[in-house]
Subunit: 180 residues, 2 copies
C-alpha cells in the first residue's frame, strides 16, 4: 500500500472511531469530510458502512488484546497488573473511543470479546482470592464497574495523562470516595 493511502486509511479509522463514539449515526460522508478525504475514498477501502465499523472495532480489539497481554493478568502481582491494565485501556479508550456494546456481533469478533471478558473476570477473581478485592459483593459488579471507571476517566479527565488517570481509577476502584 502506498504511504499516503495508509495515512488516509489511518485517518478514516481514527476519525471514524471518534465521531461514532460521539454520534453512532454519523454518516460516512461526515466521517470522510472530517478525515479530509472524499466519501468515495472510504468506499474504495470498505465495501459498506458495516465493514468500516468492523475495521474500527477490529483496531480497538487488537489494541485491547495487546494491553491485556502486556499486563500479564495471570502471573503479575495483582496490584501491579491492575494498574498496568487500567493505564493501557485508558490509552486505548482515548485512541479508539468507540462504544463496543452496540456491535452487530460478527461471530468471530464476539468470540474474541468473550475471551477478553473471561480473561479479565478470571483476573478479578484472583484479586478477590488474594485479598485485594472484597468478597462480599455481587460477582458481576467489579467486572461491570471497572470498564465504566476507565471509560469515565478516559473521557472526563482528559487533562490527566493516562498514568495519572489510572492512579485515579485504581484508587477509586479500591478505596472509593469516602473519607477515612
Amino acid at each position: 500500500m502506498r504511504a499516503d493511502a495508509a495515512r488516509n486509511l489511518e485517518a478514516v479509522l481514527t476519525t471514524g472511531a471518534r465521531m461514532l463514539a460521539d454520534d453512532p449515526g454519523a454518516s460516512i460522508a461526515a466521517i470522510a469530510a472530517e478525515a479530509g478525504v472524499d466519501r468515495r475514498t472510504v468506499y474504495r477501502r470498505f465495501a459498506s458502512r458495516e465493514e468500516l465499523l468492523a475495521a474500527i472495532y477490529e483496531a480497538r480489539y487488537e489494541a485491547v488484546e495487546r494491553v491485556v497481554e502486556d499486563a500479564r493478568l495471570r502471573e503479575a502481582p495483582v496490584a501491579v497488573a491492575l494498574h498496568r491494565y487500567v493505564e493501557g485501556i485508558i490509552g486505548v479508550n482515548r485512541k479508539w473511543p468507540v462504544e463496543l456494546t452496540r456491535l452487530k456481533a460478527d461471530e468471530e469478533i464476539r468470540g474474541r470479546r468473550d475471551a477478553l471478558i473471561r480473561e479479565v473476570d478470571a483476573f478479578l477473581e484472583r484479586a478477590v482470592s488474594e485479598g485485594l478485592l472484597r468478597a462480599d459483593l455481587p460477582v458481576a459488579w467489579p467486572g461491570a464497574l471497572l470498564p465504566q471507571l476507565m471509560h469515565l476517566a478516559s473521557q472526563q479527565m482528559s487533562q490527566l495523562t493516562a498514568a495519572q488517570a489510572a492512579d485515579l481509577v485504581v484508587d477509586t476502584f479500591l478505596r472509593g470516595l469516602g473519607a477515612q
Copy 2:
C-alpha cells in the same frame, strides 16, 4: 384526553425511552410497533421525531427533579440524602433509561439540566466539607462518577430492587471495592 389515548401516549413515551436508550437511531415506526400503535398515531401527538424526543427528555427531567426535591439535598443529613437521591435516580433510570447527553439542547431544557447539575454539585461539596467525602481528588470526579455508578446499577443489577441497588452504589461510592 380520552383514557385510551392517555394509555397509548404513555406507552409510546416509555417504549420510546427504552428503545432509544438501546439504539439512539431507532425509527418512529419501530417504536410505534413496539408500543402497539400505528406510526401515524405517534405523528398525531408529536409533529416530528424531535418533538417526541423532547417529550421523553421532559418526562425524565420531571422525574429527576422530583427525586432531587424529595431527597432534600440542601438540608437532610448528607448520608441520608445521598442514599435517597441514589435510590430515586435508579428508579428513574429504570423507567426512563434514555441517555441525555446527546440531546440537541433545547435552551430551556439545557437550563433545567444545568440547574440539576449545580444542585448535585453543591450537595457533593457539602458532603466533602462535612467529612463524608475525601477532599484530595479532582473536584469534577465525584460528580462524574456518581451518575455512572447509578446508571450501571440500574442496568446491570436488574435483579436488585432500587433500594438494594442503591445500597450497592453508595457502598461502592464511599468505600470502593478494595478489602479492609
